[in-house]
Symmetry: C2
Subunit: 292 residues, 2 copies
């Protein structure tokens, strides 16, 4: 039997968070922040381990942020398991869990919102118009509350990562933003808290999202095309696998998310599709075909 | 002849600003930031002196922020005199002038905006819908660029001061916001860079804005009313003095800016009116009539 690691302490207020982090900072420790909405999986654990490899201290945050859900979305049903999360964080070497209440984050009278254009438009921004403004606002708050040296986000949410890089640069937030690679199940399915919504059958079908993206990326890297035909084939494959609908499969510049119709510099294939009660997203890198 | 004080050094990049402030911070000095749009007058000097009395070091900023002007407003013609400003800053004990370029503040690709509801709505927010979002965005940038201990703003821009307090609290920016009292000419006219737009005749008429507010506040503090009659008399007096039009004269709660129709806790009378090429604003405190 493996020995239980000590659970990370939990703080629920900005004041308690700052007091603990200030103590570590006085001791000369640098700090990585890993914001999450909880219901942690191996993808989150990889972010915590990344943070721990980067900085002496890692603080994970757990807050299901109402501001990034539309009224029709799954805020109420979003899976929650703080006790389980805390045990997993202990395994990954997390030093502190910050799990604020909604009242601590959005007290009576709260009246501020951050909006981002450009990278936040299109893709998921077109289907979930609330989301990135809500993400920008809550991440800015978390960064200002913790003042970490580094904050770590997953490439699974690739557009979100670019949105965060954008407003952090635009608002001159004094923090480094690191992205960490997507963690996948052996089937290729990207780890996601929303995979918990899937039935056994849907879970067997869901890996085709990644498989379709991978095949399309390989085709484009070999110089295949035209792009619209490659994307169309990927959409068909996702629907054929049992997805109810495809929100988008798109090829974008990897840095700006600008629409492109050929791959001459690093690009990204991004997709969102619906299966059962879940909306799954995924993305893969597309390398330009080698110059002849 | 008084001896010329050494001019404060000028930095124009975030990197140079941070390097200088980090040096002072390492020496144990705390830092006050005084954001301005330049063309400094005694009101600004009072903010700098306030900062110097509060912290060991004072950094003034000079940036005419295009994001807070509507296309029809006076961004192009806003008065500018950096050399004169620098000499005045020296007299007030300013340690550093941060005067970034527009490219440094809003580089190609800039895509983020902060918006505030509640206190930012109504009053000047109704007449200048661009303004407070632009103020919130640029002030957040300046605060993140400098990470001061205290930032000082004038009560002359009373609604702006409350908007700044609001988003600083909402975004958890780790800084204290201090307001400093309005500085007035002997006539009572509030010091403003836009007073430079006034002809000699208009400058003789302009003090009636403050006089009308003061008379209304005294009436309300004596229990006079009804409120709408007191405000109406103030509007009439401002127009009678030679102002072309009155944008608003309103009584609001001093802390929330909520509309009120009687004074039972600290309140504020706020006004904006147009005279010649200038739109002038002013405000005064209203103390509740003493309980009987």
């Amino acid at each position: 039997m493996s020995q239980a690691l000590p659970l990370p302490p939990v703080v629920r207020s900005v004041a308690a968070l700052r007091a603990q982090l200030a103590e570590w900072r006085r001791a000369g420790d640098d700090i990585a922040l890993v914001p999450t909405m909880g219901y942690l999986h191996q993808g989150h654990m990889a972010l915590v381990r990344y943070g721990k490899a980067t900085c002496r201290r890692v603080c994970a945050t757990l807050f299901v942020n109402p501001a990034q859900f539309a009224p029709t979305e799954d805020f109420q049903t979003y899976p929650r398991d703080e006790a389980g999360d805390r045990a997993k964080l202990a395994q990954a070497g997390c030093d502190l869990l910050y799990a604020p209440t909604t009242e601590e984050m959005y007290p009576e009278g709260f009246a501020t919102r951050i909006t981002v254009t450009g990278v936040a438009e299109g893709l998921c921004g077109a289907f979930r118009p609330q989301m990135f403004g809500g993400v920008a606002t809550v991440v800015t708050k978390l960064l200002n509350q913790a003042s970490p040296d580094v904050a770590v986000f997953g490439e699974k949410d690739y557009q979100q990562l670019l949105v965060i890089r954008r407003f952090v640069r635009d608002l001159d937030l004094p923090v480094r933003i690191d992205g960490a690679p997507t963690v996948r199940e052996p089937s290729g399915l990207a780890m996601s808290s929303r995979n918990a919504y899937l039935s056994a059958e849907q879970r067997a079908q869901a890996p085709e999202l990644f498989a379709a993206l991978t095949a399309a990326a390989e085709s484009l890297a070999r110089g295949g095309g035209p792009v619209e035909a490659v994307l169309g084939a990927a959409r068909q494959r996702i629907v054929a696998a049992g997805f109810a609908s495809v929100d988008y499969v798109e090829l974008r510049d990897a840095e700006t998310l600008a629409t492109i119709d050929r791959v001459v510099r690093p690009a990204r294939l991004l997709a969102a599709a619906r299966i059962g009660p879940a909306r799954l997203i995924d993305n893969v890198a597309v390398v330009p075909p080698a110059a002849v």
